[in-house]
Symmetry: C2
Subunit: 594 residues, 2 copies
């Protein structure tokens, strides 16, 4: 299956769904231009389709292998990774320098990184996880590590010569990291001896690089119990010698490889730390906070994976529907490709518009991250930071759920062929299913949204977002009917959607914790549909005003989106309103039957 | 993983969601009693949990194997099949006799068969497909074959000594059987030589029985083109000799076994017919009509599979949620099993109530089939036949979609463990995915619903169904508030749901074919939610009036159902209303990007 990245769709959103000029106006991004972006997208697209996409199916079939404590990646992955680093992709959004330390990154905004990485995930999600982990590990090091640690590890991580690994989870500590038991004992020379077992460690070991830099959560002796007694450490697979090269083997070994539903080419390791030498990153007992630095960005990128895998599944279904001849459309003289059948075309439009909506949320989230980091105005930075914090759980959950839903439709369009593994449609359905789970399940994202992001500040950040959506609606009202422009459906459903979001937010703010917990997932789903719909509509208005040649097609896509997704947002209100009552009314001891 | 069939839930619906007395009042079912049903359900439950469930995971791992033209089933399946036939389960709903021919079936109604088979599918869907094919093959033989054919094959199919196979699909003829090319040439002795290749043949070959009786669609020489030139043949794997025993090997061979996403223990064969000897079943060139006799029942049973696999996934998630301790519920002194977390409990209730709704539709469909066949009143039979024809595509699509959705939630409740194959949750997600595809994709079910079942009779059958739902609403209105009974949520959402269903039906009746094609799936989804909701509410009212001890729990389950499913029915109206316009507005040549 060939994969051809949707450069036009991505570029359109970069032009019209975010404020690209505001991004380029930041000093840190003064070299940013649509031409530069265009070049980068072309390069990323070529790499995704030429190098990564051809390895997707074979990687699924062959997977990674663990033997004698060493993980060997699927054939072709090592070479592809080498090509990835040689082309400099790992450094895309890494800084050029920090303090006096030259890193050699391109320093591009997250917004561009999201655009490029969506293509890489679409081409080969298993592959894409490796660079994602390196990037988020670098963020934590940049934010919290000492200058010495930065100088030792970052330059080789920016190039991709060394990858990053994230060691959080233990069997008894998955969603609740406060329960973890791995220990770190001071060696007396500033280093620590780390011992314990970690599970679900993505790319925890592999053969693509000469070193792997692990970030590890562990407890110091006498640390407080629970989440306030966890510290973050850095521990390389090979200890770096005085010349900065990998030297002595550290006590970090992959002792198991999970047999998973999907992403077979991404090695998911059980890691054994046996008195592994590591160094503290950030203050003692503040490890969880440090870890969240890498978590937030990773969450956005999981939403991007959902969109990527959805796009891949969509393209494959589109190819099949265009070629597969079966049955006659009413009035046609002979059998037709199934894309001519209304029901098949509806599925394709559901898929395409759903992906576009989730993509718009991802891009807005990345944009907010960029402004929060790079705006020259402190107030603007602060507001943008609240916005990215608010949007991140939505981007993660909405994008990853959309990926699963679209991949399932992709199978459906293939009919019986979709259930046969050789076709490849089933792989997307299997691969996509991890995204709603890892980096915090979508249930946890929803709890984060209602708890930390909406209720904690009394709804201030959410009110500001809704005000922005109201502004979009004002523009719709202004433009509807001008020059014969029909925005009636968008107008009607955006009006109802925003009203539902306001009403739901008021309810969430007034609830008990238990009620908001029960209402959290429906609330996130409602917000996702409204925000996606509003951002897409905004991009239509912007495109029309700019005379963009793609605005007309975009308007039609968004018409479908308003009918399929935005119109359904208010339907979540009932579950939100009644919250925990119906959920707990049924007697627990009769759940097994009646 | 143990599996404990939900006998209470199934029995409750048998008592209160259908008119069990009307069934028992039919002469053909005069021996039917709740006690008999209870015994049968107990027996089926024990067989499902003790014999079939333990083979589900191993069957998935080991699958069926094709070697030298012979299919060997996964370890344990042959023995389980023997136990199945020895216990007489295959004859559950088969006639005791037809004409003067003793068959030895138990002659129980489909309603009971659906109840029992749901448990078998839940325990082991791959296994359950084999008896399903035998049962639907028998139906076609009973309805269309000559007395000689009936006498030759049926007695050994009723016992399960021989299984049935259904050979329809060819690579170019999947949804469109009119395109098939397999040929049948008269041998001059009343038999035919059948040649061609068939794909996706479930249990097309296996080692569980000494013979396999294939029904095959093929074209006679000089048959008209398309679907009016297809005839139905019967062709056994071993030709039956004068003593009624399997004799000479026929030219029917499994030449391939598909590598599928799920149901690995069900051998899906590529079958080669090489001048296989067969005999005509039914009139020449009327094969498609004959085949539909078996198709209709099979469609209902696929809906039952969706419910079964959903129930299995639900039970596994419930077990996990009850045992897995993680994080604290607000106010709790220590970490709690995740079932105490509101979001997890919500997922469980979404799953449980969704399954119950689809189960109620299945049961109503089976009940209509039974009344259509067995009522002593011709008018009642006719009305019931129209009802079963109307409900069948809804049962198939709604139940199978529910199965996928619930299985996906089952993974989600497991978190990261759900993505690991050893856990078993992923198998349900993979197995469930075939049900929306086979026996006519759910898109084709929706087209059948809007085309043949609603538009063809001008909406008469649908109006009668809606009138029944209106009667339920009248009863809700009457009982709401009596003795403090609060049916407010049910009342509000049933009112809105029925109104939406009426409005949608009016739209569907007034549409062009293309529009109704685009609106078909949303229309079926709307109808499914309303019908399920109404039937469940009916069963609550009936249970309360009868003083049933389970009515209180049922009322709480249905409260959740009304909020989660019934309340969402009207949200499909917009896609139905706009139908094909937004679906085809987007330019086809830009679907690949923007």
């Amino acid at each position: 299956m060939t994969f051809s990245p949707p450069i036009n769709a991505i570029s359109y959103l970069l032009r019209h769904s975010i404020d690209f000029k505001a991004l380029a106006a930041c000093k840190a991004h003064s070299e940013l231009s649509q031409d530069l972006v265009s070049d980068i997208l072309s390069g990323g697209s070529a790499f995704a389709s030429d190098v990564l996409a051809p390895l997707n199916r074979s990687g699924d079939e062959q997977g990674a292998v663990l033997k004698d404590g060493k993980v060997t990646t699927a054939p072709g992955f090592k070479e592809a990774y080498k090509a990835y680093t040689e082309a400099g992709w790992q450094g895309l959004s890494a800084p050029e320098s920090i303090g006096g330390l030259e890193l050699g990154g391109m320093g591009l905004p997250q917004t561009i990184s999201v655009a490029v990485n969506e293509m890489l995930y679409a081409a080969n999600m298993s592959f894409g996880l490796c660079p994602m982990l390196t990037a988020s590990s670098m963020n934590a090091i940049i934010a919290h590590a000492s200058d010495e640690i930065k100088a030792t590890y970052l330059p080789k991580m920016v190039t991709g010569e060394w990858t990053g690994g994230k060691n959080l989870t233990e069997p008894q500590a998955v969603s609740d990291l406060g329960a973890l038991r791995t220990k770190a004992v001071p060696n007396g020379d500033g280093s620590y001896a780390i011992s314990g077992q970690k599970i679900f460690i993505t790319w925890g070991d592999h053969d693509c690089t000469e070193n792997i830099i692990h970030l590890v959560l562990a407890r110091l002796p006498d640390a407080p119990a629970g989440s306030r007694g966890i510290s973050l450490f850095i521990a390389p697979k090979f200890i770096v010698d005085a010349d900065g090269n990998p030297g002595e083997r550290n006590g970090i070994t992959a002792i198991g490889l999970e047999h998973k539903l999907g992403i077979h080419a991404s090695p998911t390791c059980v890691m054994e730390f046996d008195k592994a030498t590591g160094w503290l990153v950030g203050p003692e007992n503040r490890g969880l906070a440090c870890m969240f630095t890498m978590m937030n960005e990773a969450r956005l990128f999981v939403g991007v994976q959902g969109v990527g895998i959805g796009e891949r599944a969509y393209q494959q279904a589109l190819d099949y529907a265009s070629e597969r001849v079966q049955s006659r459309v009413a009035g046609a003289p002979e059998n037709t490709p199934i894309i001519g059948h209304a029901d098949v075309r509806r599925m394709l439009m559901d898929m395409k518009s759903g992906i576009m909506g989730a993509r718009a949320i991802n891009m807005a989230t990345a944009f907010a991250c960029d402004i929060a980091e790079s705006s020259d105005n402190a107030d603007v930075r602060k507001a943008a930071d609240a916005r990215q914090a608010l949007l991140t759980p939505i981007a993660k959950a909405y994008g990853s759920d959309m990926g699963v839903s679209v991949a399932s439709s992709g199978i459906q369009i293939h009919g019986g062929m979709g259930f046969i593994e050789e076709t490849g449609a089933a792989q997307h359905y299997r691969d996509a299913r991890i995204a709603p789970i890892y980096e915090g399940t979508n249930g946890i994202q929803a709890l984060d949204l209602v708890g930390r992001k909406v209720r904690r500040d009394g709804g201030v950040a959410m009110a500001l977002l809704i005000a922005d959506l109201d502004d979009i609606l004002v523009n719709v009202n202004d433009m509807h009917g001008q020059d014969g422009l029909d925005l009636g459906c968008n107008q009607r459903h955006l009006t109802a959607g925003i009203a539902a979001m306001k009403s739901a937010t008021d309810m969430i703010l007034a609830m008990s914790d238990q009620d908001s917990g029960a209402a959290a997932v429906p609330y996130l789903a409602l917000c996702g549909d409204v925000i996606a719909g509003a951002f897409l509509i905004k991009s239509v208005l912007s495109g029309i005003m700019a005379g963009d040649s793609q605005a007309d097609a975009m308007q039609k896509l968004v018409w479908h989106h308003s009918l399929k997704y935005l119109s359904k947002a208010p339907s979540h209100l009932e579950q939100i309103k009644y919250a925990a009552a119906p959920v707990f009314a049924y007697p627990q001891d009769r759940l097994a039957d009646l």
